[in-house]
Amino acid sequence: MKNIEEQMWKYVSGTCSAIEQEELEQLMTHQPEYRALFQEISATHLALMQLELEEPSMSFERNVMEQIKLEPLPSRFPQVDQRIIRGIAGFFALSILSLLVYAFYLTDWTQAALNFKMPEFNWDIHFNKTILSAFLFIDMILGLYFLDYLLRKKWQAK
């Protein structure tokens, strides 16, 4: 009976196969209990279909639109992660620090009262032309990426 009930539900909602449909129709014609079950299920199905949708409050649409006004325009490009921004900032900070260290290294400390001498360090190995080009190239890429981010943000704000 339970299986028949399941098939009846499928029958009234039009999701059963043609064979199942025929079998059920046969059953309903010859057995009054199945006809009664069909009528019961059919009535519930109809009532479910006719149930009215609930209404949200009158201010619903306005509330959503107010929230949306604060949002940037939806974009296929993902929002730039804050970690990326921090990463770029960290990279530039590190570069400045490196330059400062280099500047300190070039300073002639012997002229001062301090008789301090920096340890020997072969900069030519580490700061050759290739490294410098790569450094400038990465800088340029990061600069363009950041410029793109700023321009897009500015465009979205309009």
């Binding site: 399941e6 009532a47 149930l51 649409e61 509330n63 639109m65 006004k69 939806p74």
Partner: protein, 193 residues
Amino acid sequence: MQNKESDVELIAQVLAGKQGAYAELIKRHQRYVFTLALRMAKNREDAEEIAQDCFVKAYRSLANFEQKSKFSTWLYRIVFTTAMTYLRKKKLETDSIDEEDTQIQLAGAVSDLAADCVERQSKYVYLNRAIGQLLPDDAAIITLFYQGEQSLEEIGKALQMEQNTVKVKLHRARQRLKVQLESLLKEEVKELI
């Protein structure tokens, strides 16, 4: 419900920068979204919050809507996951709810119209109340199938389930609904006696 193209056109307008077109999408789907949220949350205030949140979330990811399904199916998926997360956060009792104050708050009350109208109305009131006493996912499946105009395949997409699982769940939900209806009607008869 409007056809798919119309929704798609509105989405294209929103993506092109016409934010106002989104208001039309809200107008078109707010009752479906709210009904689904209400059936799951069992409370109008929570349902309104969930529904608003869903529309904002949908707006944020509108560009990621790939049009592989109907916009409504995509939107109901957001409603389902948002409502489930909300319910989990609120640690709501998800078992059948018997208390009168926690029962679904119906918008349409039985009015003193003609007798047949009252009879029809009360049938819907009982049905609504019975749905309100179902588990959130059972209520969601019933709502999507009968009121959300979604096929089994679309419900599967919305609830992230296999079509066969949806079939089984829908049948179980109907059975539970029948039990709830019978129980409600028995109580009513007892009260009358």
